[in-house]
C-alpha cells in the first residue's frame, strides 16, 4: 500500500490529515502515541461538506462498526452529549447548526471509535472531535481566517489601552451599563474561529490552558496566545457594538481628568 500522503498540517501542531487506501484520515497525537484517528470515505469533497449538510452526508456514509461496537460507543459517550451540545452552541452561537455539529461529532467519533484508548477521557475526546468538525465547516466559510499570533503580553497591554480609549470616549461607561451577556454572545460570533474556540474552551467552558491545549492539539503557549488575542478582539467588538448601537452618549463632563492615563505611560 502506498505511504500516507499528507494533505494538510498545522505547523507545530501534533495533528495531520492525509489520504490512504481510499480513506481520508486525520490524526491527533497529544502525548506521543497516536491518540485519535478520524476515518471517512475517499470522497474528500463529500467528507468536507458543511456541518449544515452533514446529516445527509454522513447518513449515507457506511461506518465499519457493528451494533455491539455502537453500544459500547454509546455507553461511554452518550453521558456527555449535553456537554458536547453546550460546547457546540458556544462555538456556533446557533441552535440548529449546533445540533448538526453534535450529530456530526458523534458520527465522526463512532467512525474513529476503534482508535479510542481505554482509560482516556471520553468528554475531552468528544470535544476534540467536535472542534475538528467545527473547523472543517468553518474552513469552507468565508469568515475563516487565521492570523499569526504575536506577543500575548502585547495583547494584554492592548486590551488595557483599548479600555482606556473607550473610557475617554465614554463608550466603556456605556458598555458597563449594557446587558453584557447578550452583547458577549453577538461579539463571540464575530471572532475568527481559532480565537473563538480558545475563548470558548477557557472562558466559557472553564477549561484550564492545559486541557484546552489537549482538545485543540496545540501547545499551551498557543492557547494563551489565541486566548489573549481573542479576548482583546472580543472587547473591541463590545466597544464597537456600543458605538454602532448609538450608545456613545457620554458628555464631555462625564469624562474625568484622570482618564488622561495611558497604560503605556511610565508610572509607579
Amino acid at each position: 500500500m502506498a505511504a500516507p500522503r499528507a494533505i494538510g498540517s498545522d505547523r507545530g501542531a501534533p495533528w495531520n490529515f492525509g489520504c490512504r487506501g481510499g480513506l481520508l484520515y486525520g490524526a491527533i497525537n497529544h502525548h506521543g502515541p497516536l491518540h485519535l484517528i478520524f476515518l471517512a470515505t475517499s470522497d474528500a469533497s463529500q467528507s468536507m461538506r458543511s456541518v449544515d449538510q452533514s446529516s445527509t452526508r454522513l447518513d449515507s456514509t457506511p461506518v465499519r462498526a457493528g451494533a455491539e461496537t455502537r453500544e459500547d460507543f454509546e455507553r461511554l459517550t452518550m453521558p456527555f452529549i449535553g456537554d458536547v451540545a453546550r460546547f457546540a452552541r458556544s462555538l456556533t452561537r446557533d441552535d440548529a447548526r449546533a445540533d448538526d455539529l453534535v450529530q456530526e461529532t458523534y458520527l465522526r467519533a463512532l467512525q474513529g471509535w476503534h482508535t479510542f484508548r481505554e482509560g482516556s477521557d471520553p468528554r475531552r475526546w468528544l470535544f476534540a472531535v467536535c472542534h475538528h468538525a467545527f473547523l472543517r465547516a468553518m474552513e469552507r466559510d468565508s469568515r475563516f481566517e487565521f492570523t499569526p499570533y504575536d506577543d500575548p503580553e502585547l495583547d494584554s497591554m492592548a486590551t488595557a489601552t483599548a479600555h482606556w480609549k473607550a473610557q475617554e470616549s465614554g463608550v466603556a461607561r456605556i458598555v458597563e451599563q449594557m446587558d453584557l451577556g447578550r452583547a458577549i454572545n453577538a461579539a463571540l460570533a464575530k471572532l475568527p474561529v481559532h480565537y473563538r474556540i480558545a475563548v470558548v474552551l477557557v472562558d466559557v467552558e472553564g477549561q484550564t490552558y492545559e486541557e484546552a491545549a489537549l482538545v485543540l492539539g496545540v501547545a499551551v503557549g498557543t492557547v494563551r496566545s489565541r486566548l489573549f488575542r481573542g479576548r482583546r478582539m472580543l472587547q473591541d467588538e463590545l466597544f464597537a457594538h456600543a458605538r454602532d448601537a448609538g450608545f456613545d452618549t457620554a458628555s464631555p463632563s462625564s469624562r474625568s481628568s484622570k482618564n488622561s492615563h495611558s497604560p503605556g505611560s511610565r508610572e509607579t
Partner: protein, 101 residues
C-alpha cells in the same frame, strides 16, 4: 524604618505598562507568586489601572455566564436524533464490517 530604604516585605514596585502587560495572566492566576504580588501592590497604589483590570474581569465573568445550559428535554431530543443517525450509518456499514481496515 530608615528613610530611603524599601520595605523588604513589599514586592518591587512596577509601572503601569508592566502591570497591564500581565493583565490576563494575573486574572487567570497564572503569574509566579512574586509577579502576582507586584501586580497586586501596583493595583493597590495606582488609581488608574484598576478600572482596566475590573473591566477585563467583568468581561471574563460575563463569558463564563454565557454558557448555555441544555435542558433535559433538549438533551433527550438530541440523544434520540443522534442515536437514530448512528443506527442508520451502522446499518449502512454492516456489509463492510468484515472488510480489513
Amino acid at each position: 524604618m530608615q528613610s530611603g530604604t524599601s520595605d523588604p516585605t513589599l514586592p518591587p514596585a512596577i509601572d503601569c505598562e508592566t502591570a497591564v502587560r500581565r493583565l490576563w495572566d494575573y486574572l487567570d492566576g497564572r503569574l509566579p507568586a512574586m509577579s502576582h504580588r507586584e501586580v497586586e501592590a501596583h493595583l493597590a497604589s495606582c488609581e488608574l489601572c484598576p478600572p482596566h483590570f475590573a473591566f477585563a474581569a467583568d468581561m471574563r465573568k460575563a463569558l463564563a455566564a454565557s454558557s448555555e445550559s441544555i435542558s433535559s428535554e433538549e438533551e433527550a431530543r438530541l440523544r434520540l436524533r443522534v442515536r437514530g443517525a448512528l443506527e442508520r450509518v451502522t446499518a449502512n456499514g454492516a456489509d463492510d464490517a468484515s472488510q480489513p481496515r
